[in-house]
Symmetry: C2
Subunit: 365 residues, 2 copies
Amino acid sequence: MDANNQIISVNVEAPYNVTVGWNLLERLELPHKRVALIYDSKLPSSLVKKVSSHFELSIPLPSGEACKSLEVHAKVLSELAKHAFPRDAAIVALGGGATSDLAGYVAASYLRGVAFYNLPTSLLGMVDASVGGKTGVNLPEGKNLVGAFHQPRAVWADLETLQSLPERVWKEGMAEMFKHGLLEREAAVPRFFEKSDLEQPDFLSTLARSIRVKAEIVARDPFEAGERAHLNLGHTLGHALEWASNHSLSHGEAIGYGLLYAAILSRLENRSTWMGKAAEFLEWMRPSPLPTRNFEDLIPLMARDKKATSDGLKFVLLDGPGNPYTARVALNRQHQAFQEFLKVVDNIEQRASASRSLLPTPEVP
Amino acid sequence: MDANNQIISVNVEAPYNVTVGWNLLERLELPHKRVALIYDSKLPSSLVKKVSSHFELSIPLPSGEACKSLEVHAKVLSELAKHAFPRDAAIVALGGGATSDLAGYVAASYLRGVAFYNLPTSLLGMVDASVGGKTGVNLPEGKNLVGAFHQPRAVWADLETLQSLPERVWKEGMAEMFKHGLLEREAAVPRFFEKSDLEQPDFLSTLARSIRVKAEIVARDPFEAGERAHLNLGHTLGHALEWASNHSLSHGEAIGYGLLYAAILSRLENRSTWMGKAAEFLEWMRPSPLPTRNFEDLIPLMARDKKATSDGLKFVLLDGPGNPYTARVALNRQHQAFQEFLKVVDNIEQRASASRSLLPTPEVP
């Protein structure tokens, strides 16, 4: 193990460590006689082999969000039952956030709960899903509507697994790191790391710091009774867009858009001025196009947000970086913010297409 | 509310009360704006109407064990999502143990957990499922293999709901009351109440006492890390028989058989002498016939018992009433006990058929 590796403690009821660094997957040893690996079937087979060789049973999942269904959940549970996995067995997830959401919910619900370990293989999975114990699946009616809180016993985030990550998926993770920086304080907002920066030491330390932001919030509010809702900054519109796009928009891209919308709402509500930073991030990210320009399409999807209560929907706003709060926002204000949001998005797209037209036409090989 | 009603406190992390008595369902008021009732579709419609009139949405379930599937779970979750039930909504179960197992698991998993209230309508549901927070469904591979621990906020056990209970279902509940008495101490083993005893004051106090036995064990061991396993007295063989019968044997009948088997195993292991009482109970109960007389059929089903670990299966034994413990039992001893069990069951059946032949032939109306 590399001496530069970083360990983040997550002080929930049964505390656990997230280890971030290099060469973590070489010598996995777990204190369980029987272990099932649940992995994303699109991972490089060399990576899967390296991990699966340690364990008795390996169960492949449909890649990405497609695995987060009650049908896949039921199939994996039956697989464990067929092998008569007992209560002291363990589940290990190898994959991105969707894989660990599904595998974690399997671990939470099989025999009313067995031990869970997580090996995130995406930047988003490392910075977001690896901490907090939220597990779950989607319903036809909305995202993450079913699940459980089930903390892992340990998380190992091996940067080697990021080497095969597509550029677009890398940027998804940067969206959550950007969000964590906004929640911490102005000076903590990270520079926008490219995938080619993977081996730079300040990337490792920035990633560890970003995970720590979430770990500290989760430790103070493990069941999302209050403060933890701040982690949903950008997620109210973001989830609605992701859902409206039928997943042509990735989670991270949706959050990139959602953060810009939250910045505009914040400016209208409290005159804070972090909108420029959010627009700059979105321009850097170059997300797929918006699935709709009609706010009316998004309202019923936002109503399914898990921050919604019988009294209506709340947004997470930021009175400048480091000062998050939740608030109800008048519907006409939401509409107004969405119109401004569309203008900023259009400007970004115009600049992007202008810069593309300045580039030499790529040669077809 | 009747002054004779009894309240049992269940001192888990978020303590709650079980109220047992009469006229409890007349004036239900819950501190939630939005409430969904989930009920057994075979309940008398007058009872369902009395309760459902208090709430916004009512969802009927297939009656009995048939509701405990991942398919029904998924349908009910979708129903809640379609109505955009929020996190501060509540789920109320009205039905027997199967209904509350399913409804409780819906409450545990919808939006990662919403408030749950239970109105048991069977004696078994009152004495067993109403306390402990175990929720869950079956898999094709075995019973209760999926679920969560999710404590109710309150339980109201209204004896009026037992008036329409079939004789056979009544006796199921008595099997668990018999088991709780065995766990408490010799003097606590209850007399075998008939359904016609429902309105006798000593029935109400005995029922409350039986619920208290479970409440005290659950409070000491909410997640079944140790002592709570004692509540599985009779359940290792019982569940296997229930499963082998494809539910032609009810849960309570299976437990009736399982308690006799546990009594015989106990006698072989520790010379305790409560077997006579267990045989007497089974004779009083007159359960449906055994689904198999071949112990080999039952071994793989017992291996799925949730007390099984990577090191093998444990049984709950009793060194006399009040002295339960868990222990591994050699396989040849298990076989020997099963042969003795068959002999006792055969004797009981012979006496029952002899007494039937002495009765006047019933007239066909």
